[in-house]
Subunit: 401 residues, 2 copies
């Protein structure tokens, strides 16, 4: 038997639902877990005994946390890195953060991300860096003249469609130019071309410095109002295109030397009648679109990450299922009640394989309250089931915003 | 939408692995959980923030616990009921314990159990109540004369093969008669006929007073040294026999008015060339043989029990899988090391769908350290995989005792 180093302590920065599900996988492997999160009501704090409640900028708390852990990872990328960098300067701590602080910083800033992706040769949508209101004003005539549709995004801090402006016509531009200084935290910003999307897919890569790489199959993602609504597995796209996406994702993970998970989100567009892939963004952590792996694969994204963090060998391939799977993100918008509960019909539905509430106190529009994993013989049946189940929630109007 | 009463607090007496997995299902449904266990190092205590550490005989602690819970269940049946009964006498507490204290007491004592099973018409092995050493001595000549093989069991307190004596020949009887007073806690005992078994199966029934009944498919159980080693799903038996077992299990649960789960374990014997079923014993709680449902079914035994305890509607049927599944119980015997860790080969094996360590500190022979769930196209492949994986553990000699 190879020595399996499960007797390690892994720290997770963030105790949201992603941290909670990772903690579960780590514990099942015999690993010890610690988490740090400023929110005393986080899913991890409510459901595990592992959480230290502290700010991500509290350098002393962070330092103590690192000292207690053999390895540290993060479940979201919006963590200030100044304190982290100072801690990682110490020789004993230097190699503890997986993925590295460089990968984390690439994922925190759209400009750094796009430059790092471009260096690797990853296909990107046309984009421009915008450093001031004057530069933005300058672009307005160019883009309006060429009838290009733009998407203006803050370089950092935006997620789930927040910090984004659509620039389709003169009114959009006038509105952005008038209101931007207040609503955008700061320049620089990124002005991207808004492509006509066929659909979106994502690929999660798990990578260990010596134990190898596991590339999950591509899944298809349907967003509503900038937030993931449904993930379909397998994606409704040609096998070759999915394999191409997996190859691009693997190349990025390799080039960036990712230790842990990297989720690569792709736009699927038509170019001269052919499908083409454009990298939208990356996340060096478990990803919402990967929840579908909890039921459809024998190892979930959380299992693979846990095995990587504990230096435990993992599978090189998994059997693909015969059935079709979906992950449906259930946002606060679905409930008109004060607290989240599953509708009776959902609980009794035979297509539902997992219905997980994260235990977050209070229902709020846009808040991820839980997810549902469904299985059916084909995509059409899945979509029909989800449409039906959506109608059983108290808030019939569905999507927020 | 029907009102889903997930905003309830469910108490679990016992915080072992069964309690831990039930807590997970309850939390995923939005339920609140509390657990009580005397062991500060129980899986629940190490992995959840829900545990009060107290003796099951500490009436004040139990009373506080009941006061904090809307409903209380138990994850093992060896809980003294005197204090429980006093608490349940209070009008506000009377209906809180699910399954009822009567069901619990039936399951605690082999004599009460067999009498209650016989009243329902459940098929049993021939058995006799033994109240003293003199009565046992009297039986010895009868059984030896008739060349009947006996199995002597303590009426209460025995599980996993503990508190049992095989009585096959004169030496066995002489040994039992000479050594019994010291090793058996107390009479009464049960003397059962030891049947020639073809195999063993079990059926888990989930039952709610108003929301209906869910009967899991029969699974096949292979015991080694009196402890469950492997569960196979589906059982390698004719469909009609499995359906008959399900009907018997449902009848017992109905007659005993079980609110919660009831696992019924059956011996499968040959009578006149035909298969016949004999009820071995019952457990009114999640059962080790039901772990296989965590992966092979869309609702596990823990999910169904959680839905029952939270008054949430549950499925009336689940789709049967095309593949064959096994649950392999990994006892402390498998490790020669001080702490449990999964062998590298197991973690990387493509047939493994769940490998869960319970986090118990210290490896001990006979202690359930974790379980593995595997899937393969057929039974032969499963058995081969388990045999191979068994050989990758540090303690090559396998079974204990």
């Amino acid at each position: 038997m190879m020595a399996a180093r499960a007797n390690m302590t892994v720290g997770i920065l963030g105790a949201g639902q992603l941290g909670l599900m990772l903690a579960e996988s780590l514990s099942n492997l015999g690993g010890h877990v610690r988490m740090l999160d400023p929110n005393p009501q986080s899913p991890g704090a409510l459901r595990t005994p592992f959480v230290t409640c502290a700010s991500f900028e509290d350098e002393n708390a962070l330092r103590d946390f690192f000292a207690q852990c053999d390895r540290v990872t993060y479940e979201f990328e919006h963590i200030p890195t100044a304190a982290l960098r100072r801690i990682l300067e110490e020789p004993t701590q230097r190699k503890k953060l997986w993925p590295s602080v460089l990968v984390l910083e690439n994922a925190q800033n759209r400009i750094a991300e796009k430059k790092a992706l471009a260096r690797v040769g990853a296909p990107l949508t046309p984009w421009t860096e915008i450093n001031s209101l004057a530069e933005l004003e300058e672009q307005s005539s160019v883009w309006l003249g060429n009838k290009r549709h733009g998407l203006l995004k803050t370089a950092s801090g935006g997620y789930d469609g927040k910090g984004q402006w659509r620039l389709a016509d003169a009114a959009d531009w006038a509105n952005a130019l008038a209101n931007l200084p207040d609503s955008a935290r700061a320049f620089p910003m990124v002005l991207e071309e808004k492509c006509e999307l066929e659909t979106e897919i994502s690929v999660i890569v798990g990578r260990h410095p010596t134990l190898g790489t596991f590339i999950f199959p591509a899944v298809e993602n349907i967003h509503v109002n900038g937030i993931l609504d449904t993930t379909l597995f397998p994606a409704r796209l040609p096998y070759e295109l999915c394999e191409k996406a997996r190859a691009v994702a693997e190349k990025i993970a390799d080039s960036w030397d990712v230790f842990g998970l990297l989720c690569v989100e792709f736009f699927v567009v038509r170019r001269n009648g052919e499908h083409a892939l454009l990298v939208n963004e990356v996340a060096p952590r478990p990803h919402n679109s990967g929840h579908v792996t909890r039921r459809s694969m024998s190892r979930s994204q959380f299992d693979i990450l846990a095995q990587i963090l504990l230096d435990l060998p993992f599978v090189s391939q998994q059997v693909s299922p015969d059935r079709t799977w979906a992950m449906w993100n259930t946002l606060g918008d679905l409930w008109s009640s004060h607290s989240a509960a599953w509708p009776a019909e959902l609980l009794a539905h035979s297509a539902v394989c997992e219905a997980m509430l994260y235990g977050k106190p209070g229902v709020r529009a846009g808040r991820k309250m839980g997810h549902v994993i469904l299985s059916a013989p084909n995509h059409a049946a899945l979509t029909k089931n989800i449409d039906h189940l959506r109608s059983t929630f108290t808030n019939k109007k569905g999507g927020h915003g």
